[in-house]
Subunit: 351 residues, 2 copies
Amino acid sequence: MSIPTPSDKAYVPFVSVENMMKLIHHIGIEEMLTGLAEYIEQDFKRWELFDKTPRIASHSEEGVIELMPTSDGEVYGFKYVNGHPKNTKEGLQTVTAFGLLANVGNGYPVLLSEMTMLTALRTAATSALVAKYLAPKGADTMAMIGNGAQSEFQSLAMKAIVGIKTVRLWDIDKAATQKAARNLQGMGLEVVECASAEESMEGAQIITTCTADKQYATILTDNMVGAGVHINAIGGDCPGKTELAPAILERSDVFVEFPPQTRVEGEIQQMPEDFAVTELWQVMTGAAKGRTSDSQITLFDSVGFATEDFSALRYVRDRIAGTEFHQPLDMLADPDDPRDLFGMLRRATPA
Amino acid sequence: MSIPTPSDKAYVPFVSVENMMKLIHHIGIEEMLTGLAEYIEQDFKRWELFDKTPRIASHSEEGVIELMPTSDGEVYGFKYVNGHPKNTKEGLQTVTAFGLLANVGNGYPVLLSEMTMLTALRTAATSALVAKYLAPKGADTMAMIGNGAQSEFQSLAMKAIVGIKTVRLWDIDKAATQKAARNLQGMGLEVVECASAEESMEGAQIITTCTADKQYATILTDNMVGAGVHINAIGGDCPGKTELAPAILERSDVFVEFPPQTRVEGEIQQMPEDFAVTELWQVMTGAAKGRTSDSQITLFDSVGFATEDFSALRYVRDRIAGTEFHQPLDMLADPDDPRDLFGMLRRATPA
């Protein structure tokens, strides 16, 4: 007897890396960043609906593997993501990821997607969404410190969503800066390659730090940061990995995604447990204030939260409908009679 | 420019349902159950090595979605699994699952596999492995109470691993019993369809309960269970879902996988928090005793633990090597220069 063809119920739409890249180009990267930011904002505004737990991390000497689940009561989502700073030396990505959405009502997966590309986009979209609320009005220049895999996405999101016109690049590795500058050619941004962190911050109203070393680093010291800027701190995102001098945190108003997670993983892991922070969802709903003065330093202590991946997967699910940018994956057994899994197996016996 | 082909590093071997069924038939179901039991036993014997956390459950009115991660320090694995008892009424599986193995050293996934079929096999292999340690010597008859999707797998594993010759089927739904009996035809077991739970237990040294209702059910009452049997309680596996009268637990020596999880999800959720249990890994290493007398009732309060899925995925990974029973899945972005994710995306711009 031949292998029975799985029914439609057994197929899960899968978005490969190749299809994700096609989808991004089909939509346009800036439009996609803007669309992702809208979905992320929608979900922040219905924050209290979500089942929130800190990510489940499996730490090793070399890095971390994490599962980030959440649910809005109707849709469940999770992301698998690793972080291995040493990977780049071996020609591998520091961060790779994939994610899944499922129907809460019956537990069946409805989308499996690559999320290495998608995480870079959603991280950038989140940064820019937050900067839209917190950066000084009229901000047109960003210092981009750390010119690795995230840097171009961050730059374009700040252009598309905040209106940044100039990005000032700096990295301890000059080749990384040259790579980012080359990639950003012809994308509508003025790109300046800088020789030091200090130089990159000249005239910048937004300072983005995104470096990868797993250590208590001090990418920004206190005296480097002037009044009135918005700091978008991306790289400090796991225990033992920070980028900012504690003195900067003391001078700043710090905004976070989910305090129980950020206190363990973010820049504020350096601060006392009761260090005051403002939750972003409250800024977005109007329940808390964002920027209140021109001289204030606002700081987004970004670690990445499960709802942002959920929003990104929702966006992809909505945008692949009716397109060819996905393929059916036979990952769920679906016998005609659900109690008859064994019969399905027996009927699949090769002739 | 054309879409670049991902390098080998970007591909994850994927075992679809169709390929899993082909693999099972290629190996032979009884040999595969025996092989799975060996891997599961190996991992129980190195229990202390594993990173163990109770599964992360997202409960809803209709059911539960769970992530079950673990790691032995070199390999990381997790399973996604749902449990929705109402699904069968809608023509869907109560339980569907898939799983993943990854390299702890660099975080890259190395296997994605369907696990609906594989979970049925590993659950049966675990039950039979435990019965091999705990059932009375010479056990040749099993009562199989609840004739749903798991029942044939349980029966065959007990045949292959414990040497059961007769299985006595009972279910409140006669059609389920008929289905199981039909499926087990020609598999080398004497199959008896019974008219009541009591009848199914006549002459049985092993009693397996595997029913699906999410409630405090009493599939077995105290007076139904005689001395000297081994009870393999599969169905009580989440909060609010049990199958046995508490009085049976009081008369039994209860063996469990991972006490912190079983106390929440297993039959012993009905008992005080300090109810005595023995951990299976200690029985397998010889650190604790299994069956000590002919009149003793041994009870495996099975809920399923992450290491068993880890063992099953290890087995599949080892057995698909060199076969055609997997396909490459493009789920990890893999730029030539790992810091150049954006360049990979730009180079994929359609002509």
